[in-house]
Amino acid sequence: MDRIHGLLVRARSLWRRSAAERDLNDELRFHLAMEIEAGMQRGLSPDEARRRALVTFGGVERFREETRDTDRPRWLEEARVDLAHGWRLLLARPAFSIAVILTLGLGIGANTAIFSVVNAVLLRPSPFPDPDRLVMIWETDRASGTHHEPASWPDVVDISERSRTLQAVGAMMGRDVTIAQAGRGDPERVTGLAITPSVLSVLDVHMIAGRPLTTDEGRPGSQRVVLLGEQFWRTRFAADRGIVGRTIMVDERPALVAGVLPAAADLGVRQIHERADYAETFSGAHADVWLALQPSAVSFPRETHPFLTVGRLAPGATVAASQRELARIAASLEREYPVDAHRGVNVESYGSVVFGAIRPALALLLGAVTMLLLVTCANVANLLLARTAARTREVAVRVALGAARARIGRQFLVESLLFVTLGSAAGVALAFGAVHVLVALAPSDVPRIDTASVDGRVLAYTAGTALLIALLFAALPVLQMRGLDLQHTLKSHGGRLISLGRSTRRFQAGVIVAEVALTVMLVVGAGLLLRSLLRLSRVDPGFDATRVLEAQYQLPSTRYPIDFKRFPDLPEINAFHARMLAAVRAIPGVAGAALAGSPPLDPGFTNSFTIVGREAESAHYPEIRTRFLSAGYLETMGVPLLAGRAIEDGDDAHSPNVIVINRSAALRYFPATDPIGQSIGFWGSPRRIVGVIGDEKFRGVDAPSEPAVYAPIAQAPQQQATLVLRVSHGDPLDLVPAVRAALRDLDPQIPLFGVERLELSVRSSIAKPRFDAVLLAAFGVVAMLLAVIGVYGVLSYTVTERMAELGVRMALGADRWSIVRLVAGMGVGLAALGVALGVGAAYAGSRLLRSMVFGVTTTDPVTFAGVIVIVMLTAVAASLEPAFRATRADPMQALRAES
């Protein structure tokens, strides 16, 4: 109690210093007045009474100080003094201070920004309870060697019923849909996710509004029900809870809105679709609507594999145990059902599927930005070392006057804390801006990157980093001052710089070497990624994307039904596509137009197939990528025709089935024979090969070419179509209004979506490597700049310090060239050592980049040689100015200064 009271009094006196001071003054003034009065009562004259009182009183300041000391904890008072002292020093050399603060701000800011992304993507808690128990269940196919195939519906049901290690199993698939609401604007194409109701119990997420799907709503023939994603609900329905229980039009048929799911509920869905060997389209970053899947063994027989299957492990079960159990179940399914031949299962933890791809990239960025921070610290450390040397005299005087070394150490700590605090503040301010840039720059398929922000955890991380740096910086001068020779320092001339101690100088050289080595590692990493980015951007995707527009539309089943009994003679669909194609070809400025089943660079899907006459052998072929296209595709896309003929307008539902294969398919399946005239059987009928065309890339430009077949879209009608248009000149996007108008004329209920310059789609297919490369390059450039400043700074200081010696050398006949060599040689020597160490470390460490480079090895000699040359040239450039300054040393002046 006493102690608390005392603390309160002290605290009050510390923070209300002026008030306490006033109190004390008043109290003392009162005492003095009473003393004078007493003197006058004893018969003294007023003046004499005053004089005596003051004499008795003694030095007012002295005991005012003593009284104050009892009022305030000593260390706090000293800290205040140190802080004021540090602040004065900071203001005394503004250029130096700004350099230090900005350098630190850059390093800390970059670090904070990258950590914000890491925090948002990897560290924030999962939206799902017990996320470690979530798993993905893939099917495998030993015949084709695939490990990440979606499952068939009957397999999902059997696994769900027989498994003990899984407490719940759900199936999902992306399904873009058209949403319309009576009396509310145009129909809108949105990203949908079709799920079995059990998916919600697997994920175990809470609804924002309404209720989850019921088991009944997952049965065929029951009412159509949808859930809204939070973002879509907020933007399209203005977060109106009243929408729950109402009906909206989904693909032109009514569906009940049962509830609203939180935005985080779709975490990982995009990554699951990308991980799959093939999957339905999940086009956006988030699920706008969640649709109830109502599958049956009739609509989804065992031989079709469209379902992405998620499971929740039973309490106590492990992924490995589940894998063993499901392998047994798959083995018995294989015995029971011939179509499940060669099938197995692959259980992966949900987290590894969702974050597996991004984790190494983020680790790389965090590592790189930490190196950058170390480089900035090295630079600042060197600045501080030089400054401490300049302050040796100050320290010596204070030690001579009796200051405790601990006290001086504490002052350095307070000063470096001041620098680091201001630097961190600058860094955090920078990070707030940089996070937005990072999010904008980042590929959209990084999970929850759009939630990146500078939050409490990020600030705590930054504060921890800053404290570490401050302690480091404070330790430097203390170590530096340990061997301080008071006599020598105090006796040396006032005007001259005090030279750094031998150990300090060696330390400074070491810092430079380390800085250069780190820079080399960063720049090598950046170089490798940039070179592979260059390779990637030069990869021929197999088509010419310039001046090509892509756009998609989807025909609703209501008015454009697929009747399998009549397939492929579906007049509504085929007529629509034909009229649409004719309409866009008539738009002025269109040089070529065609339809395709899926967009270029979209993986689409694969099918099993046989070569007629080689059926036995064909049974072991992996599935082949299947594309659909109209006449004019090759001309529009600039895909070369290698043999035979292309798909023509006459290849329709009423003419014989034909097919075109790509170069890879021809090489793989017809290495010795002419494929033209042979027949391929798939989708239940033989199709004659009429032509061979060049390879297009289907799964991103960095994927290898793979065999594919192209069927006329009129012989395999699709409700979804991609329009590709080539313009003769100008921006292809200028055509969009005309294309929309053409579509509206044909059917006003159908929205156009996925409208993009094809060039941009190609570019965004390498967004991830570009993100890494651009960031690493930026870090590399900054590190190099800092290294230049570092080398320059140290040489510059050395030259100033050794001006006299250099002058004497000149006086004794050394020529300019030898002086230049002497000084520049120091800088270049340090840099060479740094480069050697950095190259060694980069050579050993670059294998970590193996999964991120394309078309170059991680020990690419061109990159390494280039980096060595660039860094060494930079070091030479940084050394030249101090070196030439050294030659201007005036011998006479040097000699005078010595005397």
């Binding site: 006493d2 009271h5 005392g6 109190d23 008043d26 009162f30 005492h31 009473m34 005991f63 009284t67």
Partner: protein
């Protein structure tokens, strides 16, 4: 300047202040005068030690201070003993008695 009598023994000033204030609340000057008076001018309180001591005792919570008017109507800071201060005084008096008795015993030898 009056001839310096014994300056207050180091460490006993707190005891004397507490004792003086146990009679009645008073200001710093009053405390000094009271100690001088009671000791018949044997004990002189140096202002240089008085005010730091007063502030120290205030921080420990043994005395409390408030501003009021002095006899001659000046603004003065009055100190009074708190409950803990009263206990502390008893303890210190006991300690002092034991201490001085011990000194007496030593001096009484021979």
């Amino acid at each position: 300047m009056p001839p310096t009598n014994a300056d207050v023994l180091q460490g006993t000033l707190d005891l004397l202040i507490l004792k003086a204030l146990s009679i009645e609340p008073m200001h710093g000057w009053g405390v000094a005068q009271r100690i001088q008076q009671i000791s018949r001018d044997m004990l002189q309180v140096n202002q240089g030690s008085l005010y730091p001591a007063l502030h120290r005792l205030e921080q420990r919570g043994w005395i409390a201070a408030s501003w009021g008017a002095s006899d001659n109507n000046r603004r003065a800071k009055f100190y009074r003993l708190t409950a803990t201060g009263r206990k502390q005084l008893q303890a210190e008096v006991a300690t002092w008695r034991r201490f001085s008795a011990a000194i007496e015993l030593v001096l009484a030898i021979g």
